[in-house]
Point group: C2
Chain length 140, copies 2
Amino acid sequence: MERNTRQRTAIRQAIETAGRPLLPAEVLEAAKREVPGLSLATVYRGLKALVEDGLLATVSLPSEVTRYEVAGHQHHHHFQCLGCQRVFDVHACPGDLGRLAPPGFSVESHDLTLYGRCGDCSPKKPTLDAKSKKVVPIRC
Amino acid sequence: MERNTRQRTAIRQAIETAGRPLLPAEVLEAAKREVPGLSLATVYRGLKALVEDGLLATVSLPSEVTRYEVAGHQHHHHFQCLGCQRVFDVHACPGDLGRLAPPGFSVESHDLTLYGRCGDCSPKKPTLDAKSKKVVPIRC
DNA sequence: GTGGATGCAAACTCTTTGCACCTTG
DNA sequence: CAAGGTGCAAAGAGTTTGCATCCAC
């Protein structure tokens, strides 16, 4: 049912190689090195198919466009660097948060996002312009 | 510098009356009862101006369009009902989460979203179709 | 009276979809 | 060879903006 096309392989490899959640545009940029003619529509269709197949998982953060990462990680959260805007996995969790909800509310799940500086963007080093939404692929 | 127009007054009152974060479309719907000819563009401009004036605050949740609430609350988080999709304030916080970050990462802030059922949408009662993105203003 | 605010429509960004052509199994 | 995948362009949803008109101060 799911075909192995060069395009989908390139999409999956782009995300596996990155090791962190990627934006569709980042996936396109990386996968284009394998399949130059790749179109953004195919990236979207491929990402959706791979998520439905359980190979990828979506990562959505407040005010941010959906990113994609390899599936299979257990419950975890994310960290977004205020310097380079990149997103990283956080394999830790504050635990049960049901007690925080108001009376009468039942909690089934939660999302947590940490913000700060990644190892490459310590406060001492120059940071990228947070206003340019462009995600710079190089180390910052 | 900031003028008191009927439109902006209606926008502010819509959010104050709701007592919970509202979507721009919800603000338009509510404010239209005061100013029938109100346009969505004016709602967006009004919301932005009121945020810049410090009267409103933005609320953004994963995979969700930005909502707006009255400013002035101290640090808090949000709860989204899986039944009616409405968002409520949670005046509680798990506390310092810096310890969750990987080594080399510094945490400056965090966002937490709880998901579950609000008092009106207990698991026993019928729930709204989660797939219809339409936010129903009535109690569910 | 004048500058900020409004309404409308067009523009923009991100994502999805229709359709003809191509490719995998 | 047939079903599914791809590329392109057009269509959608949400948001912003240009511009002529309007109105609060």
